[in-house]
Amino acid sequence: MTTVPTTQMTATSTSWLQNNNVLGFLFMLPAAVFLVCFLTYPLGLGIWLGFTDTRIGRDGIFIGFENYAFLARDHVFWLSVFNTLLYTSVASVLKFALGLWLALLLNENLPCKSFFRAIVLLPWVVPTVLSALAFWWIYDSQFSILSWSLMKLGLIDGPINFLGDPTNARISVIAANVWRGIPFVAISLLAGLQTIPASLQEAASLDGATSWQRFRYVTLPMLTPIIAVVMTFSVLFTFTDFQLIYVLTKGGPVNATHLMATLSFQRGIPGGQLGEGAAIAVAMIPFLLGAIMFSFFGLQRRKWQQGGQD
């Protein structure tokens, strides 16, 4: 009598474990717990903080959309939104164009191919803070190597005010970001280029396609899925950039290079207003979602890639 329930229990648990759905759930559980703890919870907490007047050192109370209403009337916030959009769009376009160009070059049969491919990754491998410090010296208002070289060449009279003039400062931080971001785009696109079968290129050549036509009608369509993924990541990284700005300008001169991420930090941590800082960070989410949607629906058009109609 006693053996029957045991057998039944074993049988039940075995059949549970043989059920694909249960097993799948169990296998996903560790990842799900990880995501909930380290992604969903902080994100949820950030969104919640944005609706409170929490300060560092004091719990907040729910105040609805007051932080957002307050930010909507803040010139500095809107300036940071403009700066972030400008920074992201210009830097992303440049990173894409130069990265694709570099990838095409590296895909050719160069001597010492692996050496060049390794060395191209360097700007990406160096910690951002270190490369930012190097750029800080390059852009220094007194000791800039660029100004010095141009002065020695007799092209300019005095040092260039790289980070002191609003326009120059914006160009300078974008240039530093592009320098740092190109390798990621180039190496990822290079990986994509190498998955394109050589036979397709050969077939197009036999049909009399010029090299531009081969690029336009063979390479580019085959590369689009990779481009979509790479540029989505690139846009997200650029949009949320913090370290580079914080080292180079801290958002100056007069907030001309303040990004939403740096403003969020400045108000939230040194300024102590966690609620408002969180609200600024949350205000970045719609833009980030927009970028993801654009890449998802705009660039990953499978039918078109497979030769069908849009």
Partner: protein, 435 residues
Amino acid sequence: MTIKRRDFLAASAAAAGVAGLGIRPGFAQAAEPTYTPEPGASLRLLRWTPFVKGDEDAWLANTAKFTEATGVQVRVDKESWEDIRPKAAVAANVGSGPDLVMCWFDDAHQYPDKLVDLTELANYLGGKYGGWYDGMRGYAARGDKFIAMPLTAIGNAVVYRDSHMKAAGFSEFPKDTDGFLELCKAMKAKGTPAGFPHGKAVGDGNNYAHWLLWSHGGKMVDESGVVTINSPETLKAINYAKALYETFIPGTESWQDINNNRAFLAGQVSLIANGVSVYYAAKKDPALAEIAADIRTTNFPIGPVGQSVELCQTSSLLLFNHTKYPEAAKAYIKFMMEADQMNAWISGSSGYCCQPLKAFADNPVWTADPIHAPYAKASEMLRPNGYAGPLGYASAGVMADYVLVDMFAAAVTGQMSPEDAMAEAERRANRYYRV
């Protein structure tokens, strides 16, 4: 424990130079409080990374003396100075972490209810050592109640090249703002310009901007916390800043805290404002011997307001409610603030840390080198950052958001008219002082 306590009292009494009386405090000083460390007490102090090595050595040596006398272990942790503020706030918020923090500026006023009342000890020390300087007291007290212990002001002074000033036709350094402007013009004409940061330099940028404003009689808020930055005095300050900016080396609107030191030591500028560290940097490097010998320091010139007024980094000791050993912590603070320890610490920090109590103004360090002299006045002439209003969340927020620094930078670079820059600063300050 009794033995330890007696040892401690004897040691602190000896330290204070009143050996024998410490056991019966009633005879020594009417209000001398005694603090008996709890059995098994240990403490954690979080401090900013010292600017000079001697500061750290002296502080740790004093702490070791305290441990020897009382048996109370004190762990001293260091954090870079910009990280102290968030860490202290988090400790206050979650109610755990270090027992004591060396905080900056108006931190104590952000969470006064999380701090142990130190009024009794502060009044005793004030009575014994000639009283607290007003500015230092303002950062640590609310009304009559001390919510923190004033610790030190990091001196700031004008640092210049004597030979360059003389070459510009000045035999001595001008005392007022008008003369100062003339000097800067003359130095610019000689190719040895001045340079003050208009960039987001947390320390130097704020020091310079507050001096510009206060020396001309402007203030961010009045006594009741109403924003008064949009005023004729501020306009005068901005116009003065514009004239002065014309004499600077180009590019100071991107300067952060380190740029002025770097440019000065490289011979690019001949007049800056800084802590005493720039002098020691020159003195340490044999290649800069010529500059080190040529360096002179002086206090910022006096403006229409008629008195020296500066911001200066200021630090206070916070004792959190969450400490398990409040008596041991008070005993530690008392020990560190008594003459023997405080004098050793001030001497050790070579002019970087200025005394909070008037009696320590005759510390030999201030006369050991004429370069140190202006730094001795830091505590005397400083004003709290939210002058003239109450300290707290709004005063901290306005400074952290660089409202004043941005106002001057926008006007001197011509991005905004002085009137617009003032109105913008008023609007931004009102965001913080709204409630």
